[in-house]
């Protein structure tokens, strides 16, 4: 059981994700350099946070064309679990694996703080172990996290139970307080908060552990 962690030029949470998965959850990982095409033997893939390709053009716009993502797209289409965290979420929307886009925070500030979140597992199998309405806290750290999507598409996402994580106090102007969502099948998941930074009491809480562990089951 190994989890792949994609590394783009400019990723900066790849090692944090490795630390959380290996050090806290005891799950082996393998770094996947952006030019790699071999995903064999992986149970799940994480796209970590950071500034892939310097976030040139738009966040995630260049990363979308990385060779490794062709394979990640195939992996996802076969039902493999893919988790995009922060910049990874932005990449998944640019790829079209998740709907909408993440744009400049409404207050223009880079927000870096713990965010109270509400979990609504809905119909999607991601986070199925959580009670609907359960509250957790995860750190956020982003300048472009305001979720935007057409109104009717947002309603559809909500009706389908794909909006799995919502901000309790909206920090960036996201439509529908969206902090994280998944595709209709539930295997492609994206969120702006950083679960990998909340896996040890020493660094401010363990609410991220269960969320990351849910990649495996």
């Amino acid at each position: 059981m190994t989890i792949g962690i994609v590394v783009f030029p400019g990723s900066n949470c790849d090692r944090d994700v490795r630390w959380a998965l290996e050090g806290c959850l005891g799950v082996p990982t393998r770094f996947l350099w952006h030019e790699e095409r071999d995903l064999q033997g992986l149970e799940a893939v994480v796209l970590p946070g950071g500034f892939s390709y310097g976030d040139y053009l738009r966040c995630g716009a260049i990363a979308r064309f990385a060779p490794v993502l062709e394979e990640v797209r195939r992996f996802a289409s076969e039902g493999g679990p893919v988790l995009g965290i922060c910049n990874g979420f932005q990449v998944l929307t640019e790829l079209g694996l998740l709907p909408g886009a993440l744009t400049r925070n409404i207050g223009l500030h880079f927000v870096c703080e713990p965010a109270p979140l509400e979990v609504r597992p809905g119909a999607c199998r991601w986070l199925a172990g959580y009670q609907s309405g359960e509250e957790i806290a995860l750190p956020i750290a982003h300048g472009e996290g305001r979720y935007q999507v057409q109104e009717d598409q947002l309603r559809q996402l909500e009706d389908n139970g794909q909006v799995v994580l919502r901000y309790k106090t909206n920090p960036n102007g996201s439509m529908g307080d969206v902090a994280g969502l998944c595709n209709p099948q539930g295997n492609v998941r994206g969120l702006m908060p950083h679960p990998e930074r909340a896996c040890d009491q020493l660094t401010g809480g363990e609410d991220g552990r269960r969320l990351l562990a849910s990649l495996l089951g």
């Binding site: 053009l57 738009r58 716009a61 064309f65 929307t93 640019e94 709907p99 909408g100 886009a101 744009t103 400049r104 925070n105 409404i106 207050g107 223009l108 305001r146 935007q148 999507v149 057409q150 102007g173």
Partner: protein, 85 residues
């Protein structure tokens, strides 16, 4: 091979908030420039391209604009194409 120059103008769709544009508009007032009722920030991208003819250049640039330079979820784009040689 004919050479073309293009300018792709990328702007936020009207329904998308532009907080950077709003902040700039507010600064215009502080500079003493009155009457600015709307200010939206986009991007202008200059492209040089070689293609056998104008229709091919147009087609390639449309693909480039639609799939890479702009994100149609939040942005609109327009294209101006000029043959230079």
């Amino acid at each position: 091979m004919p050479h073309f120059h293009a300018r792709v103008q990328v702007s936020l769709r009207p329904s998308v908030l532009d907080p950077a544009g709003e902040a700039t508009r507010a600064a215009a007032g502080r500079l003493g420039v009155e009457g600015v009722t709307r200010l939206r920030i986009g991007k202008a991208i200059e492209v040089e391209i070689e293609a056998p003819d104008q229709a091919t250049a147009q087609q390639r640039l449309e693909l480039l604009s639609e799939r890479l330079l702009a994100n149609p979820v939040i942005e609109n784009w327009t294209l101006d194409l000029i043959e230079t040689a």
